[in-house]
């Protein structure tokens, strides 16, 4: 099945750009044209770079001169608006007066530029990357529904074909949730794998930087570029970096797939449950060995991530809070920043103690399995303005339901990826989450690709 140019993955665009069968200028113009046509209703971008075509012409000249920089050369990539960029303003989604952010490139933006990528624009984030929605961004699969958040601008822009890939950030699921509900791949690598230098902090020990891409192969290309030690990020780890594209196309026969039957499979939308069970069966058909287990300790995770995320965000915004500046934050974000004051130091440290035990429980699990698979979210995209949803026959707050399966991997820092795994009866995308041992992104992407290449989900695009 041939794809429209705007829907092609980087892994198919890059060889054509390198062989000069495709012009970086034509590619950039394709996305700019679609932004012009569709983003007035999707609202995925807050800013478009005014140097896109100039950068594309430079890429074209360099490639013509034989100076191809790699698979990202000439590829338009969108950047979430909480990454600092030298040539575009950063707002972190806030219009509060008295705040400004430096005009310099974050580590990720700098790596993209060095690789010849074209930073096409800044995508919307919910204010300071809080929350599971991204107002006013709409989901391209149904414009009455949310693209989730907080990287909802990146998810919507990519799904709609307004860029070839996008950067997001993930504190409790903010890369993987938009990826899931927008039918894209979303990769949260291990904590410390990708530098967060120049990403506006939300919660220091939970924040991850990472890409949203069309395919697992594209995620591997982006990870090749973004992974690596950076002393400017105190959490960044000096761990060996691999060529992640070598994980692609490998068989998974004999790999052990873990399925945690509590927490992740107790309350799901029926279509989500069915799609994920089918995905597990499909992996087994490829020779993977499915092993089921339970992790009762997960019952305490929500309190832990709330304590850490709220306390950290409030500490970060302390100056604004005491100056009364938070009164200008969006109402839900203002409330979250203010109520972080209610988290006691003892609660915070208890949450950090809990993390130690949870990480150890996962360590024991990963002695018996190579990866875990779960739904990415228990629900598909919900309607804009809905605060409660039906999940498996029960009414539940969106706040509690949406990130239930993603935040455990922020608490533990384990790598996790969301890949498209089907559609519900309303035609809304469903995501499959795969997680692996710390710094084992190779196995993570190997399994993700083994699933992706035997299905057609990533070929589907929304009608706009």
């Amino acid at each position: 099945m041939s794809r429209e140019l705007w829907a092609e993955p980087i892994e198919s665009l890059a060889p054509r750009l390198r062989a000069r069968k495709l012009s970086p200028v034509a590619l950039a113009e394709t996305y700019l044209d679609r932004i012009q046509r569709y983003d007035a209703t999707l609202h995925s971008y807050i800013c478009i770079s005014d140097s896109v075509l100039r950068d594309a012409r430079e890429a074209e000249a360099e490639i013509k001169a034989g100076r191809w920089r790699g698979p990202l050369h000439g590829i338009p990539v969108a950047v979430k608006d909480n990454y600092l960029t030298a040539d575009m303003p950063t707002t972190a989604g806030s219009t509060a007066p008295g705040l400004s952010f430096p005009r310099r490139d974050s580590a990720a933006a700098a790596r993209l530029r060095k690789a010849g990528a074209i930073l096409i624009g800044k995508t919307r984030t919910h204010e300071f990357a809080w929350g599971n929605v991204t107002p006013p961004v709409r989901n391209p699969w149904d414009r009455e529904r949310v693209p989730s958040g907080s990287s909802g601008g990146s998810g919507a822009a990519l799904a709609a074909g307004l860029c070839a890939a996008a950067l997001g950030s993930d504190t409790g699921g903010s890369i993987r949730m938009p990826a899931s509900v927008c039918n894209t791949v979303g990769l949260k690598a291990s904590f410390g794998r990708i530098s967060r230098d120049g990403v506006v902090p939300h919660s220091w020990s939970l924040d991850h930087a990472g890409p949203l891409t069309r395919t697992v192969g594209d995620a591997a290309h982006l990870l090749n570029l973004l992974a690596g030690y950076d002393p400017a990020d105190p959490a960044c780890q000096d761990q060996p970096v691999h060529d992640y594209t070598k994980a692609l196309g490998k068989p998974i026969k004999g790999l052990r797939i873990g399925v945690c039957r509590n927490h992740f499979f107790e309350r799901n939308d029926v279509d989500v449950e069915h799609a994920v069970e089918q995905a597990i069966a499909d992996l087994a058909t490829q020779g993977a060995i499915v092993q089921e287990f339970r992790l009762p300790l997960l019952d305490y995770g929500l309190g832990a991530i709330f304590a850490i995320e709220l306390a950290s965000s409030t500490a970060y915004h302390d100056v604004s809070l005491r100056a009364g500046r938070t009164a200008h934050f969006q109402p839900d974000v203002r409330t979250l920043v203010e109520i972080g004051r209610f988290v006691t130091a003892a609660d915070y440290l208890k949450a950090e103690q809990y993390r130690t035990v949870l990480m150890d429980e996962f360590r024991k699990v990963f002695e018996r399995v190579d990866v875990m698979v779960t739904p990415t979210t228990p629900i598909t995209a919900w309607k804009i303005g809905d605060w409660h949803v039906d999940v498996g026959g029960q009414q539940e707050s969106v706040l509690a339901a949406s990130w239930r399966f993603t935040y455990p991997f922020n608490l533990t820092g384990l790598p996790a990826v969301s890949v498209p795994c089907g559609f519900d009866r309303r035609g809304l995308p469903i995501g499959l989450q795969i997680a692996a041992r710390p710094y084992d992104e190779m196995t993570l992407l190997r399994v993700a690709h083994a699933y992706e290449r035997t299905h057609e989900w990533t070929n589907r695009t929304p009608e706009l």
Partner: protein
């Protein structure tokens, strides 16, 4: 200077919120507190928290090199 019974509470919280706003925030915190109460039930006495004090970190280049969030004249 007022002598409101809320004053010590405001001091502890370090924010100056109106009684109405404080009540709204406490209501918003209710469901979150339920989850934190569950966490408090765990006996983790012998567990070291998952945070690391690392005295050499400040000697590494760049840890405090670049501010991000700064007060300014506004956008």
């Amino acid at each position: 200077m007022s002598d409101s019974p809320l004053d010590p509470f405001k001091d502890i919280l370090g924010v100056d919120l109106t009684p109405q706003r404080l009540a709204e925030n406490l209501a918003s915190y209710h469901d979150i507190l339920k989850e934190i109460r569950k966490l408090r039930e765990l006996d983790l006495t012998d567990v070291h928290p998952a945070i690391v004090f690392e005295p050499t970190s400040v000697y590494r280049r760049g840890v405090y090199r670049k501010g991000i969030y700064r007060k300014g004249p506004g956008k």
